[in-house]
Symmetry: C2
Subunit: 251 residues, 2 copies
DNA sequence: CATCTGTTGTTACGATCCTACAAACGCCGC
DNA sequence: GCGGCGTTTGTAGGATCGTAACAACAGATG
C-alpha cells in the first residue's frame, strides 16, 4: 500500500475535515455502507461520536443517511466527494477574494521603489522567474546549472520573448541545456565566464533588460530561495555589477 | 460594497487560514505592501503577532518578505494566490483519496438491499436525480412544480434516456415545463391526476422503471431534502403505490 | 559624549475556543 | 431485566487569540 491511513487522515484534515470526520468517511468506504457500531468497530472513533460526526459529514455532502433502526450511513462515491469538495473550495475562494478585489490597491509605484524581495519555495520561484522574464523588452540573460530549473512555463516565456524580438542569452556549462536552446531563433547560448566559481548551491539567474533581476540559491533541505527586484535602482546597479565583472574577466 | 470584511475573513478561514492570517493578507492587499506596524494599524492584529503570522503566510506562498529595516511584506497577486491555494487543495485531495481508492469496497449488493436513503441540499439532490434517471432501461416518470428544479444535467439525462428508447413521461401542470418537452421525440407530457394535492412544499419526483425512485420536498429555509431508493423491494412497492393511486383516481 | 525617547523584532504567558475523548442517560425490543 | 441504540453532558488537551515584557537600535536632546 503506497500510503497509510494516517497520511490520508492528515490530508483530509488539511481539506478542512476533523480527524474523526476523516476516519468515519474512510471507514464507510471500506464498509461500503454501515451503522455507527460497525464504523466504531473498525476505527478508534467512539460509537457515541459517530452520530454527530456523520451528521456533519452529511452537511458537507459526503454521505447519506438511512433513517432506520439502527441508522445506516452510505458514503457518496469518490468522484462525487471530490466534486463536492472542489465546488465548496471554489465557492469559498470566490467569496474570499471578492472582497480583496474591491479593496486592493496596486503596490503604488512598485516599479520605482528600491525594493529587493525574497521568495521561498521552488514553485513560487518558478512563478516569479516567469514574471521577471516576461517584463523584458530588449534583452534577457538566463542562467542555471540545473536543467530541471528550466520549467516548461519558463521555456515558453523565453521563447515568447525571443519571438517578440528580445535578445535572449542562455548561460550554462551543461551540454543538455545548450543543446535545448541551440537552434532557437533569437536565442544565443554562452558559457559562463571562466573565473566564475560554479557554486554547488547556486540556483538560477534571470536578468531582464537593465532593471529586472532574480537570483536564486538552493537551501539546505533542497528548498530554493530567490531574491528579486524589478524597476529599482538596486536592480540596475546589481545587473551592471554582474555584467561588468563578466566583461572584465577579473580573477 | 457587496461583501464585508468579516465575511471575507470567514471565507479564508474555511480555506484553512487563521483569522489573523486572513486579516494580514487582506490588509496587505489594501496597502499594496507594508510593514508590521502599518498592518497592525489598519487591523486588530497585534503588531507583535504580525511577524509570525506573515512568516506562516510566506510558507503558504501568499506573500513575500523584504529583508530590510523595518521588514516589509508584499502580498502576491490575487491570481497567483488563487492558483497557489488551488494547487495545494488539489494536492491534498489526491493524497486523501489515493488511500480511499485502495481500501474502498463497493456497496456490496447495494442494488438488492432494502434501503431508503436521505440526501439533503439542492445540489446533491440534483446529482442523485441524475443517477436515478440514468439507470432507467424502459420507463421514466419525472414530475415537478418548479421549472428551476429541472437543471441542465437533468434535462440532458432525460433526453439521453429518451434517445435510448426509454419511454419518458413528464408530469407537470406548469405550461412552461410542458412546452419545454412538447416536441421531444420519445417524451410524453401529462397533467398530474386531478385529485393530487399540489402541496407548496413538494419538490420533484423521479421514477425509473419499477425499481428506482426519488422524491423531494422543500424544507423551511429553502433547502431541499430527498429520499431515494434503487433496486429495493421498497422502491418497487412505493412506485406501485404511487402509480396505482394515479390510475384509480381515488379522492 | 551621555541620556532620553520611540520603534523594531523577539519571546513569553494567560484566556479562549474547538476538538478529542469518556461516561452516563433515556429509550426500545426481547 | 437486559442489551443495544441514540442522545446528552462533561472533561482534558491543543491551537489560536490577545496582552505584555524584553533587548537592540536609531534619532533627538542635553
Amino acid at each position: 500500500m503506497s500510503t497509510g491511513e494516517p497520511e490520508a487522515v492528515d490530508a483530509f484534515e488539511q481539506l478542512g475535515l476533523t480527524s474523526y470526520e476523516a476516519k468515519v468517511f474512510i471507514a464507510l468506504h471500506q464498509l461500503g455502507a454501515g451503522t455507527a457500531r460497525e464504523v466504531a468497530d473498525i476505527t478508534d472513533v467512539p460509537r457515541s461520536q459517530v452520530y454527530s460526526v456523520a451528521e456533519s459529514l452529511e452537511d458537507r455532502g459526503l454521505l447519506e443517511v438511512q433513517q432506520a433502526n439502527p441508522i445506516r450511513y452510505r458514503p457518496v462515491s469518490v468522484e462525487e466527494a471530490r466534486d463536492t469538495l472542489r465546488d465548496q473550495f471554489e465557492r469559498e475562494q470566490d467569496r474570499a477574494f471578492e472582497y480583496v478585489e474591491t479593496v486592493k490597491n496596486e503596490p503604488a509605484g512598485e516599479e520605482t521603489q528600491e525594493d529587493i524581495w525574497t521568495v521561498r519555495g521552488r514553485d513560487r520561484v518558478d512563478d516569479r522567474t516567469v514574471d521577471i522574464l516576461s517584463q523584458a523588452e530588449e534583452r534577457i540573460v538566463f542562467g542555471t546549472r540545473l536543467s530541471e530549473l528550466i520549467t516548461e512555463p519558463i521555456e515558453r516565456a523565453l521563447a515568447e520573448r525571443a519571438a517578440a524580438g528580445v535578445a535572449v542569452i542562455i548561460v550554462s556549462r551543461r551540454e543538455e541545456i545548450k543543446r535545448q536552446f541551440a537552434g532557437v531563433e533569437g536565442v544565443t547560448v554562452e558559457d559562463p565566464p571562466a573565473h566564475r566559481t560554479d557554486d554547488q548551491r547556486s540556483g538560477r539567474i534571470a536578468i531582464a533588460d537593465d532593471d529586472g533581476i532574480l537570483l536564486s540559491v538552493l537551501g539546505g533541505e533542497g528548498g530554493e530561495t530567490a531574491i528579486w527586484s524589478s524597476g529599482s535602482l538596486f536592480a540596475t546597479v546589481l545587473i551592471q555589477l554582474i555584467e561588468a565583472s563578466d566583461e572584465m574577466q577579473v580573477q
